[in-house]
Symmetry: C2
Subunit: 150 residues, 2 copies
DNA sequence: AGCAATTAGATTGTATACAATTTAATATAA
DNA sequence: TTATATTAAATTGTATACAATCTAATTGCT
């Protein structure tokens, strides 16, 4: 019952459920993030800033694996919401420093309930969660090594 | 060394590596798909059609977990490339039937080498791949049940 | 039959992603 | 030191995603 086209069936792909699960999760976040007026990408950006307070766009991109084409407009929106300020580094004007505002810092409190809400919905065992976590980072690392070679 | 904000650290998220891994994989596909002039989303759409030959937009969306807002412009592009034809169902004019063209069918041969190229780059063991596959579908199913409740 | 509800796609508007290019600032090398 | 290379962001253009709304076709109900 197998033919040479089996590898081209959607159900035999590993990448497709990865892509779909990622989007489903983002969709799951949405009602929770709506309450604090953030999109998913804005939320993970704020996460990095909540932990590090201040950072240039380049470093932010390294944490988030996003480039300036994505981050520049996103950061401008966060600035419009008064959650961050954007200012050039005096030492090196090429660098744009992103800093939390008081309002941005305060949002951290409101965000505290979000992770638990999502974890509850995922309904994974501890072992499953840990395994998934490890394997995903393994994939990310593996693919980044690949692309750096070229 | 733990504080109440630990749950808001990027490194403690499960969703972030899922989101990043998904994008990394899509990026990994790109050079291979470029050769057959498809984007990743166009590729998985073609996969469904290679297996089923003919299908309306609604069904396609069920397989791909995508809605008409995404599919309509995508399908128009596939039609421009002469890979598919779009025509209304005579029985029920609300349905738009998507069918492969000869050129679309032929593309299947050229796509045959793609899955192996990607699997090779992922560098996962059989067990890891199977576990990952299962858990991702579990997540997708779980989250879809959640959203259907509301 | 006639009209309200439902259904399938299309459209609109917003927000990513990201390759490729551009711009401005800084570092480096002849 | 001055032309060249490199670097960091911004910009441009294309392609998704997706909520919300709209439109046309069909179904169901009375």
């Amino acid at each position: 019952m197998s033919d040479k086209y089996d590898s081209l069936k959607l159900e035999n792909q590993l990448c497709f459920p990865l892509y779909s699960a990622s989007r489903e999760i983002t969709r799951t976040y949405q009602p929770f993030l709506e309450k604090i007026h953030l999109t998913y990408t804005q939320y993970i950006t704020m996460m990095v800033l909540w932990e590090h307070e201040s950072m240039n766009v380049k470093s932010l991109g390294k944490y988030l694996l996003l480039d300036s084409g994505t981050l520049t407009p996103l950061l401008k929106k966060l600035e419009e919401k008064d959650l961050i300020v954007r200012k050039r580094n005096k030492e090196d004007e090429r660098n744009l420093i992103i800093e939390l505002t008081d309002k941005g810092r305060e949002l951290k409190e409101e965000a505290l309930s979000v992770p638990q809400s999502i974890i509850a919905k995922l309904n994974l065992s501890q072992e499953e969660a840990i395994f998934l976590y490890k394997i995903l980072y393994k994939i990310i690392q593996q693919l980044q090594e690949c692309s750096n070679k070229n």
